[in-house]
């Protein structure tokens, strides 16, 4: 029998645990998926419908109806990867003192929380890949482009988690840190490309999304999957994502090593 080393074993177990947990409540899982993926996509789709089919537009933001429908459908595959309420979980653990349990485990607490949530994301990723394979048979989308987009979306997911970890350190100082997390999430919903394609932004406002990494969650991966960003563009985005991960990694490390000293838990 092959013995899995501890450093790998706990990570695999955590992932497996996360998958089992997400699928234990299957109705819950699919209802959540329906509510958070399909309904926003319908809302976005109707925008294009009203402009092109009910109205008489030929292009919108430089895109045709077919291009925008393709954007909406593809972005739906990535939108579920970016979601995750790990920051709310950590916030709650810090405020209530249950973070002690995570600290006592012989594993890295933040990585443990991230991997556990990634269990559910893996189920979503498999589902999204199956849809993409089907789409690549019937549409002009290349599955290889989708995989490249998926790669960037995974990096985006890591960035999302890191930003959450940085923001949540507020919980060590302030009871209402969840307000900051909610504010961040509201901004992300617009600047990630979930509500509308980001190239719709007027020229004087493009700095809003270009200067932040949120576009790497949905807009960037969608552009790559649709073949609108290719070759050099993808490499460029990859470097940008890695730079954000490195920078945010340092920031999170610094903030946590300083803030954790304020953590107090009594009993439990």
């Amino acid at each position: 029998m092959v013995r899995i080393p501890f450093f790998l074993g706990w990570r695999l177990s955590t992932l497996r645990n996360g998958i089992q947990d997400s699928l234990a409540y299957r109705w819950d899982f699919f209802l959540r998926l329906f509510g958070s993926a399909l309904v926003p996509a319908i809302v976005q789709f109707t925008l294009w419908y009203s402009a092109f089919k009910l109205g008489s537009a030929e292009t919108l933001g430089g895109n045709t109806y077919a291009e925008l429908v393709a954007y909406t459908a593809t972005s739906m595959l990535f939108s579920q990867l970016r979601t995750g309420d790990q920051d709310f979980t950590i916030d709650d653990m810090i405020r209530t003192g249950t973070f002690s349990a995570a600290l006592l485990r012989p594993v890295r607490p933040l990585e443990f929380i991230y991997l556990r949530s990634m269990g559910e994301k893996l189920s979503v990723m498999i589902l999204a890949s199956l849809i993409a394979i089907t789409a690549s048979i019937f549409t002009s989308m290349h599955f290889s482009h989708f995989l490249q987009g998926l790669g960037i979306a995974i990096l985006g997911n890591i960035i999302h988690f890191q930003i959450g970890c940085a923001v949540v350190t507020l919980a060590f100082y302030w009871e209402q840190s969840y307000a900051a997390i909610m504010t961040k999430n509201i901004i992300v919903s617009l600047l990630s490309g979930e509500m509308i394609p980001l190239h719709f932004f007027p020229e004087n406002l493009t700095w809003l999304w270009k200067g932040l990494p949120f576009y790497l969650y949905i807009y960037g991966p969608t552009q790559i999957a649709l073949g609108r960003w290719t070759g050099g563009d993808v490499t460029h985005q990859l470097w940008i994502a890695l730079a954000w991960i490195a920078g945010l990694g340092l920031l999170v490390r610094m903030l946590w090593s300083y803030s954790i000293r304020r953590y107090q838990a009594l009993g439990g």
């Binding site: 958070s36 809302v43 925008l47 402009a51 307000a179 719709f200």
Partner: protein
């Protein structure tokens, strides 16, 4: 009858006073949540700005009419959020954990007690912002102003009433579904459809939003009436939606109470 009304009015006043005191006691929380609500309103406004920077009109709905709709939506949602939203978040938990007991044994209408227990005044800023947007874009959107502002007030409350009834339907499913939080999230997904004028939607969805999920009555249909392009048939659908949801939720509440179990709290 008058005595019962007076009693419930007293309950409402006491609850409002207590909640107001709480908001001023936890000032940091109040400021933080006001900021969250305000950012949400700004993001919605930015969304409309971005969309209308790419087109002059969407299905005949101009930029100024779009913002007029947004103002009405923000104001109506603010009224709902101030008086009811928090209670609906607690509602599924009260059913699942057995906390409903403490409400059921009190000598007042239990639904009234559940819906007036907690109020959050952080959305007052959005109410003001909504009214500001209405007055800023009203004239250019075709709103006549003057005494028609009374109609604005009426429609704002109609929108809030619709939200209460539909939200009630979603939370009452907690009597049958363990994880009420998911159903609440589903409500907010559908609610997003009401955050856009119903004229944007294909016919089938448009009628769904005026019947089964009547989110079009929060702001979309009211905005059309206020700028003079409303259809009388929509008023019939509004009446049917209010009556239908009222009796449906009443029936669900009674059925649900028969299922409700608690080993005392």
């Amino acid at each position: 009858m008058n005595k019962i009304l007076a009693q419930h009015w007293d309950i409402f006043k006491t609850s409002a006073r207590n909640n107001l005191v709480r908001e001023f006691f936890y000032r940091a929380n109040f400021i933080a949540m006001t900021m969250v609500d305000f950012v949400w309103a700004l993001v919605e406004a930015l969304f409309f700005h971005v969309i209308y920077s790419n087109t002059a009109a969407l299905n005949g709905w101009t930029r100024d009419q779009g913002f007029f709709f947004l103002g009405l939506f923000l104001a109506s949602d603010a009224i709902f959020s101030i008086f009811f939203q928090r209670n609906f978040w607690y509602f599924p938990g009260a059913i699942n954990s057995g906390d409903l007991d403490s409400v059921l044994i009190k000598p007042a209408n239990p639904i009234f007690l559940l819906l007036t227990r907690s109020m959050g005044f952080t959305q007052v800023t959005n109410l003001i912002l909504g009214i500001f947007i209405l007055s800023r874009y009203g004239t250019s959107a075709g709103f006549p102003g003057g005494w028609h502002w009374l109609a604005v007030v009426l429609w704002i409350f109609v929108g809030a009433l619709i939200q209460v009834l539909v939200r009630m339907f979603f939370v009452l499913t907690s009597f049958w579904i363990e994880r009420g939080y998911t159903v609440s999230s589903l409500y907010y997904s559908f609610f997003q459809m009401g955050a856009r004028p119903d004229l944007f939607y294909p016919t089938a969805i448009r009628y769904t939003l005026k019947s089964a999920l009547p989110f079009a009555f929060i702001a979309s249909v009211p905005a059309q009436f206020l700028v003079g392009i409303g259809r009388r048939g929509d008023l019939l659908l509004l009446g049917a939606s209010i009556i239908g949801y009222f009796f449906l939720t009443r029936w669900m509440w009674r059925k649900g109470l028969r299922r409700y179990q608690s080993a005392s709290s």
